[in-house]
Amino acid sequence: MKRIKSRVLNNKPLSPDLYLIEFTSMGVENEILPGNFINIEINKNLDPFLRRPFSIFDTSEGTISVLYRIVGKGTELMKNLKTGEYIDFIGPLGNAYPAPESDEFIFVAGGTGIASVHYMLKAVKKNFPESKRILFWGAKNRHEIVLKEQIENLCSEVVFTTEDGSLGNKGLVTDFIKTNPNSVIYACGPTPMLKSVYEKTKMNKSYFSFEERMACGVGVCLGCAIMTKSGKYKYVCKDGPVFEGSEIFG
């Protein structure tokens, strides 16, 4: 974990609500594992006051990028950041997707969940180049399927689902998931989606990345509690964001 005073290299809309921002990472990209996130201070003034957590979408030498959706005042400010302006981030934070050996990996992404899934896809392709990698990608509509070719290139197969049917299947991404007994599942998206993925893949090893409201991102505030099957809370920022499906829903 480092605290980096970073400069924006690039910040551009990919759809009306989705943006991709790239900024300098001062070498911290080498510490990053798929599943990790960073906690960004977007503005100098005090409203909004807290940092905002984002998954890492990608890294390259000296840079990190984040794919984000405009949902509130923090992301509204973020979207206005210009090349050369400063942001301040802490990371990498959280645990990583485990990578057990397998010949089939299933990825399920809902909404901005594609960010975390993308970074893991890259890693799996690199470590198991011969593996089958099937991505089930769900979005509200075809505009939210961004960076399509780039992501398709990492997969053996991509199944698109949009709520309005404007691209691929119409409906919920989880309605179309197919797995084999030995496939390893990675999923990131809204909690109801994850729950539904779990229901359909109970027999598989599954790793889910969760979101919860965060204040610190490092385990001191105990704000990001998530209830586990055992009746005890764990903390998304420190014990997660990645949990085995069975640990939460089992």
Partner: protein
């Protein structure tokens, strides 16, 4: 650390008057990658109870303009686990450790302290003011007599540094402060969080897991400063001020209002290295003013220009 920042409470020296507030710095090690722990004169642990506490249901945090409301519910590992996890850690630790004790009864307070008294810790901060547990410490804040009785018993049980932490949610800050002093506290600290509420207008439910939570951050500073000032005018023991401190300049306001030391809480989430920044600011401020120690500014608030 610069000599100018050195302060004393009783016989204890602190390298700087900046302390990490309870609940915002864990047990002192979580930020170690990016924070020099000795930038803090001391750290206060998360509130500790006798038995483990799971804490409140999520969501536990909601942001409000320039502040946040938390509903943590004193989640903590309990005293036995705490000892197991941190006894060794604290044996060699770069700064003082103060354990925040958040108990519900006199007996629980005493049991926690008895169990950890052997540890290499500087002392205790008694949280008689947590708004986030039903039967919680809050009742000790409602009645100065109850607070007095509690502190008195704890005082008999330890010779370590004893700080009583006051709640801002009762009008009798001055009475509470006096009761804490009379019962033998070495210092008082304030403010704990204010009671706050936030409603999700789409669902009609609270935005946190309980109807109310504890409100903190820069938003509360004007009120916290006022209360610290009132408390410092009331007692002769040192006052440790906090509530919304987010910069060196904020810290100096609290010193001027009468605080001997200060704690930073919520601001740590945003700037974990804030102790470094505040120390720096104070140093430069003292230099600029030709002062040789931070204690020279304590209580120097001059009131209004017109009086």
């Amino acid at each position: 650390m610069n000599e100018k920042l050195k302060v004393k409470i009783g016989n204890t020296e602190f390298a700087t008057p900046v302390i990490a507030a309870s609940g915002t710095f864990g047990f002192g090690i979580e930020y170690a990658d990016i924070v020099n722990l000795d930038d803090f004169g001391a750290i206060v642990t998360k509130g500790l109870s006798l038995l483990p506490k799971e804490g409140n249901p999520p969501p536990r945090i909601v942001e409000t303009p320039c502040g946040l409301i938390n509903s943590i519910g004193l989640a903590n590992p309990g005293t036995d686990e705490f000892i197991k996890n941190y006894e060794e850690t604290y044996r060699v630790f770069p700064t003082h450790v103060i354990v925040n004790v958040g108990a519900e009864t006199e007996n629980e307070f005493l049991s926690v302290i008895k169990k950890i008294e052997h540890m290499n810790i500087l002392g205790y901060e008694l949280n008689i003011s947590c708004p986030n547990v039903e039967t919680g410490g809050m009742m000790f804040s409602e009645d100065p007599n109850t607070a007095f009785a509690l502190v008195k018993k704890v005082r008999k049980a330890t010779e370590k540094l004893l700080i009583t932490k006051l709640s801002p949610n009762f009008c009798n800050i001055r009475e509470l402060a006096r009761a804490s002093e009379d019962a033998g506290s070495d210092a008082i600290s304030l403010v704990n969080t204010f009671l706050g509420m936030s409603i999700d207008i789409e669902t009609g439910y609270s935005r946190i897991g309980k109807p109310f939570g504890g409100f903190s951050g820069p938003a509360i500073k004007p009120m916290a400063l006022k209360m610290v000032y009132e408390a410092a005018r009331t007692v002769n023991i040192p006052v440790i001020g906090m509530g919304g401190i987010n910069s060196g300049s904020d810290a100096i306001e609290f010193f001027m209002a009468g605080a001997s030391m200060i704690q930073v809480g919520s601001a740590i989430f945003r700037n974990p290295q804030i102790a470094f920044d505040i120390n720096n600011f104070i140093e430069q401020y003292l230099d600029r003013k030709g002062l040789s120690n931070v204690s020279e500014i304590i209580g120097t608030f001059k009131g209004s220009k017109n009086e």
